[in-house]
Amino acid sequence: MKKEKERKNWRGNLVTSLEVPGDLAMKETIVTLTGRSHAIICNYKSILRYQQEEIIVLGFHGKIAIRGKRLMIPKYTPEEMQIEGMISEIVMG
């Protein structure tokens, strides 16, 4: 446990010192929300569930659930996914 924590710290320190963007180096998922109707998810792994009321996306460090009404995906590419609809909730798990 301690070893793993140390390793994470070491990687974090390296990223900071090299001034590399965190989302690229740590493979963090980015969720950009514009208003209540538009969201863009970058750096995701796969879709776990896609329904009109809920989209669950698997990131590299956990799940992201977007809930709402009439959710649809206008753009689905390996790099990013656009979501449109009445978004009511975003849950990071």
Binding site: S46, I47, L48, R49, Q52, I73, P74, Y76, T77
Partner: protein, 412 residues
């Protein structure tokens, strides 16, 4: 994906039905297949737009996930061409149109001259025509440098020429110089100022030369107002030398200008009854095609013309236009005395305005408007103050002989 690229490459809208629709999406992602307008339409069905190339790669994914794929819609040029493969005339039309555009874009359809004031555009165009530069000639045969050099050579007052080709336009920009040398030379030539009108001098400012007439004196056409021949005299008032100068003065005279206008009381009025016809025409080179009824008597024509262009600089050699014809009837009418007096007064005012524009002052107006049973006659005279003086050559008399005294000294 329904943008221009999608339209060009073609897109397919499909329905994916099965239990593993999410896995289908993940496999698409793994194979870098792009999907747009993805929508969940049922518990186990999805709809989305795929590019043609991506759609053809779906087969292994379908096998793996066990979903069913239905094509719902096909859009884009590849499908359109496939559907239209039997319409040969359509493709021939496209080909001919492309050829035509290609052919037309290689020629000059507009010659634009700017920056010229002394040399008219038509004059320069005529000169270019003589040199073989005409509308419709091939762009590749035009040498901008050669045209610029020819214009500079033939027009001495053009100091700078720029010639460039913009699309199907040949743009000539010129700058005309002022040759002060010539003007100065002209100013140095001795001359008199001679009256070109009869009248009484009211104001006179002489800058160079010897005034022969003065303010208050009457002058007649041909009278020398300011002489360009100066007599240099010695102390005993004897002329010792004649010197020619370029006479320069502002001379204003007052004179009477006769005015006579006759307006007949009966006139023909054009009255429109509201009938209107529209026709359209097409013009290319010397060919003129008109659609609609042609010109007839008692129809007034208004023509609107439009030159066809693909872009601002790509002018096509076609002109389309609209002709609006309005029907009128010529009805004999008669002015009332009040109307004709107003018209005569307006005509006189317009005439006065024109005189004032020319720099003439009007000091008195003695025009009377009389109306009889047939005509309205405005007659009389206007008293005007105007600038006169025409440059005429001066005759310098023979220089007087130098007188020498007995002791050999020269006296002037």
């Amino acid at each position: 994906m329904r943008d221009l690229t999608g339209f060009r490459k073609g897109i397919v809208r499909i329905r994916v039905q099965g239990e593993q629709t999410e896995r289908f999406l993940n496999l698409c992602k793994a194979r870098k297949i792009k999907i747009s307008s993805l929508d969940r339409t049922g518990e186990q069905s999805l709809e989305g737009d795929f590019g043609i190339q991506d759609f053809l790669r779906l087969s292994p994914i379908r096998r793996k996930t066990g979903v069913k794929i239905h094509i719902l819609e096909k859009h884009g040029l590849p499908f359109f061409f496939y559907r239209s493969k039997k319409r040969k005339a359509f493709f021939i039309g496209i080909f001919v149109c492309a050829l035509l555009l290609l052919g037309l874009s290689g020629r000059i359809w507009e010659i634009d001259v700017s920056g010229n004031a002394r040399n008219s555009t038509q004059e320069i165009l005529d000169f270019l025509k003589e040199e073989g530069i005409v509308h419709g000639m091939q762009r590749s045969k035009i040498s901008c440098n050669a045209i610029a050099a020819t214009i500079r050579e033939n027009y001495n007052d053009i100091t700078w020429v720029s010639v460039r080709i913009e699309g199907t336009r040949l743009v000539l920009t010129v700058k005309e110089g002022v040759f002060t040398e010539a003007v100065e030379k002209e100013k140095n030539t001795p001359c008199n100022l001679t009256a070109d009108q009869n009248g009484v001098i009211v104001r006179m400012i002489t800058r160079a030369g010897y005034p022969k007439l003065h303010v208050g004196e009457e002058c007649h056409i041909g009278d020398v107002l300011v002489s360009g021949c100066l007599e240099l005299k010695n102390d005993s008032q004897e002329v010792v030398r004649y010197e020619g100068v370029h006479a320069d003065a502002d001379i204003y005279i007052k004179r009477k200008k006769a005015y006579y206008r006759e307006i007949p009381l009966q006139y023909q009025s054009e009255e429109y009854d509201g009938r209107e016809r529209k026709s359209y025409f097409f013009k290319t080179g010397n060919t003129y095609l008109e659609f609609g009824k042609s010109a007839e008597k008692n129809w007034q024509n208004t023509v609107e013309e439009q030159i066809l262009r693909l872009t601002d600089s790509f002018r096509l050699p076609f002109t389309v236009g609209k002709i609006t014809r309005k029907y009128y009837e010529t009805v004999p009418r008669e002015y009332t005395e009040k109307e004709v007096r107003a018209l005569a007064w307006r005509t006189l005012q317009l005439y006065e305005e024109k005189l004032i524009e020319k720099g003439v002052q009007i000091s008195a107006n003695n025009v009377k408007i009389e109306v009889d049973h047939k005509t309205c006659i405005s007659k009389g005279f206007l008293e005007i103050i105007e600038k006169i003086g025409r440059e005429t050559p001066v005759e310098i008399p023979e220089q007087p002989a130098e007188r020498t005294t007995e002791d050999g000294e020269q006296h002037y």
